[in-house]
């Protein structure tokens, strides 16, 4: 549509400036020190939604960080799209690996570098700007609702309650989420599933205090050594996960599905070069796309214990800790796997140490059908602006709220991610390409158009 294109072209610098302003707010949901930044960010989102054409926008309190809700109802008899996104971001650590401040966005080589640029401020903001285009060009044919939360990166602990308490408000025909990626701009794709998550912390205690490693070394259980043994026991020589029952509920993909997946563009050398590794690692018998899409995994997210400073300290530490998470696929249950992990680590505690394990967060895997009207509208929109039919793929990440949203609102989710796997999500130097940002804004109005028709 020429009118949409003209409007975007005229306003594109302002669109970017507004996003940069959002990116400057350190809305780290995991850090209690950023509580006020979270509120500030929510209020800024509310303001921008109103300016973009929402008839109403409100910041709702929750037991945790606030939720932003906005809507533009053109005609209650028309289809309603609920856009879900999140304004919170991952912690930026390790800070010393960033080339510029995580909350001081810079544009370099056509990319926006900042924490949250792709995950998810840059992506949900495309929807805010798409609303603006549709509103200002008087071409909105359906109803749009926005649900922008502030706790996605910590497992959305309060969103389920919020959704359950506001079912009527959030009533819709489809939920649209841009919080994932495409294969590439040349090979646009649509995620048809996300993995679930079970995230635990394990704490190993030896003696009741740090000890001198000379005086006690060799006679008392070392919690780091024991934790290492426990972690080492989780994968066998084929990199299968050894925890009893872990794979029990996995729905195996059919040979046809695997054949289709194998057709997606993938260049192993490019993949390895991008990551700077000589060899890949993974479960025997599966390809990289399968390992990150249709197979569950168990990853160590963090470990610490003893002396970690400069030089040498001859300490036999009292405690060691690890953060461990599993990515889950249909039909694994986050709760069941969490319990399985907790029980496993408690049970294999070696002699000489005690082990505590507890749940940090989780979410269910989610799949969306490709024959729905909403999926077809998304595919058609992408084909319109990219000139190429999108490939359906299984995403490796998790959006824990998906299964809750579907359960509470009774509708399916469609993923329209415009990021790239190389966006450094959750890593230093997170970025979002300007061309992806603008292409997303260009594409989303077509989704509404096709879905409304």
């Amino acid at each position: 549509m020429q009118g949409w294109k003209d409007y975007q072209e005229k306003n594109k610098d302002r669109f970017l400036d507004e996003l940069l302003e959002l990116l400057r707010i350190p809305s780290i949901s995991a850090n209690s020190a950023n509580k006020e930044d979270m509120r500030k960010c929510a209020e800024k989102v509310q303001q921008r939604l109103l300016e973009a054409g929402a008839a109403s926008a409100k910041v709702y309190e929750t037991a945790g960080h606030p939720v932003v809700y906005a809507e533009k109802i053109v005609d209650p008899s028309k289809p309603t799209v609920l856009v879900y996104g999140h304004y919170d971001v991952q912690p930026p650590d390790p800070l010393d690996l960033w080339h510029s401040g995580p909350f001081e966005p810079v544009i370099k080589d056509g990319r926006i570098y900042a924490r949250g640029s792709a995950d998810d401020k840059g992506q949900f903001y495309m929807h805010v700007k798409a609303l603006e285009i549709l509103s200002k060009t008087n071409s909105l044919q359906n109803n749009i609702k926005f649900l922008i939360e502030g706790e996605e990166e910590v497992g959305s602990p309060n969103l389920a309650d919020f959704v359950a308490a506001h079912k009527e408000l959030l009533k819709c025909d489809v939920i649209l989420i841009s919080d994932s990626s495409m294969i590439s701009m040349e090979n646009p794709s649509i995620d048809i599933g996300v993995r679930g998550l079970a995230y635990i912390q394990v704490e190993v205690t030896g003696a009741n205090r740090d000890l001198h490693s000379g005086v006690y070394g060799g006679a008392v259980g070392n919690p780091i050594t024991m934790l290492a043994k426990m972690i080492a026991s989780c994968h066998d020589e084929n990199n299968h996960i050894t925890i009893p029952g872990f794979y029990d509920d996995v729905v195996a993909s059919t040979p046809e599905e695997r054949k289709l997946m194998a057709e997606a563009p993938y260049n192993e050398n490019e993949y390895k070069n991008d990551l700077g590794v000589k060899e890949l690692w993974g479960e025997k018998g599966y390809t990289t796309n399968e390992r990150t899409g249709i197979r569950p995994t168990l990853e160590l997210n963090g470990i610490w214990g003893g002396y970690t400073g400069e030089g040498a300290k001859t300490v036999l530490p009292s405690k060691a800790f690890a953060k461990i998470s599993a990515r889950l696929v249909p039909n694994q249950s986050s709760e069941k796997i969490t319990d399985m992990l907790l029980q496993y680590f408690r049970k294999i505690a070696p002699v000489g140490v005690t082990v505590e394990a507890y749940n940090l967060h989780g979410g269910e895997p989610y799949m969306t059908p490709i024959n729905s009207k909403a999926y077809q509208a998304a595919a058609q929109a992408i084909e319109t602006t990219f000139g190429k039919k999108p490939i359906p793929v299984r995403g490796g990440g998790s959006i824990p709220i998906c299964s809750i949203l579907e359960k509470e609102l009774g509708v399916k989710i469609v993923f329209m991610g415009f990021g790239l796997d190389s966006d450094n999500l959750h890593s230093p130097n997170e970025k979002f390409d300007l061309v992806n940002f603008y292409k997303g804004i260009e594409t989303i109005p077509y989704f509404h158009k096709y879905f409304a028709s």
Copy 2:
């Protein structure tokens, strides 16, 4: 000697105040930020040595932290005792486990709580005060030299050069060191050996950046998982160290030596209760005293990688690190074992990650004969003030400088440690019992008396 006793009794409060003043200086040799504190501490030691009766005392520059040397030569034809000690301390981390500030000494229940109270400020200061007693009561019959260094806790990297360059200055008949412990005040003991040390750091690198554990999890080597596997491979099910060749040079203790060791007082329940553990851990076939005395060990001193903050971050980290050290026994060589460890970790690097390993510090094991005149003088001194013959024991800690001192100066070392294993060396809440401090000061003059006669 009544004169010594009277002098000590009259001055005991000042002796303690002076020690507390030393303990307030955060002389952490491993932290470059404490460079000025190191100098301040060296100068304070110099001042106290002069006040105590040293004829001269000087702060010598080295490539690292300064060395304090002092002497009182009564008659060049008389025997000379060189007292070795160190004014540097271990880093105080983890700070949150201290009940009071590590550099704000407090006296509680008859104990001095502070970093360095036992290791080694409190112990070398007993020798300074013993010199004062001998000087002020005009009863010094031999020559005393002091060599108080500032880099013991980081492996004395510059002391060998200093000693080699000052052989004439340091010439002596015996080296006396109080940097170890006794079994208890009821069961005084003398260390007849210390273990050697090989301390390395291992760095495991997976991808060239931190990754999203959902997008890449399962397809790329996780450096924490790999590091854990490497660590887990170091001990077998009997807690023997599996590194090829590790035990090759160990001189096995004779059945007679082991029988003697078994006679030392040891109560396993008390030992476990003190440490707060239900079960001990160690090499099969050896007792606790043997595990910490005559057997080499491999301990994890620190580990870190990935996200270690509050909450959950779904990161697949780029790097993981470990600090690993071995305690060595005669005739293991620190250099040889260090190389062995470095080669081992480089060689077992799993597919998908790269491993770097490098030496942090080390020192040779050391044994002292119990039939020497100096050992006999120490044993007699302890019997005089404790009313009980000391038991010869093998210490578990390391004093890397021992073998260097012996090699350069051509004399043996005698250990007169007045600390206790429960002094929390290298741990939070390090302490030194007042009674031990004063008993040490009372005992040391007798050593000089018996050694001079």
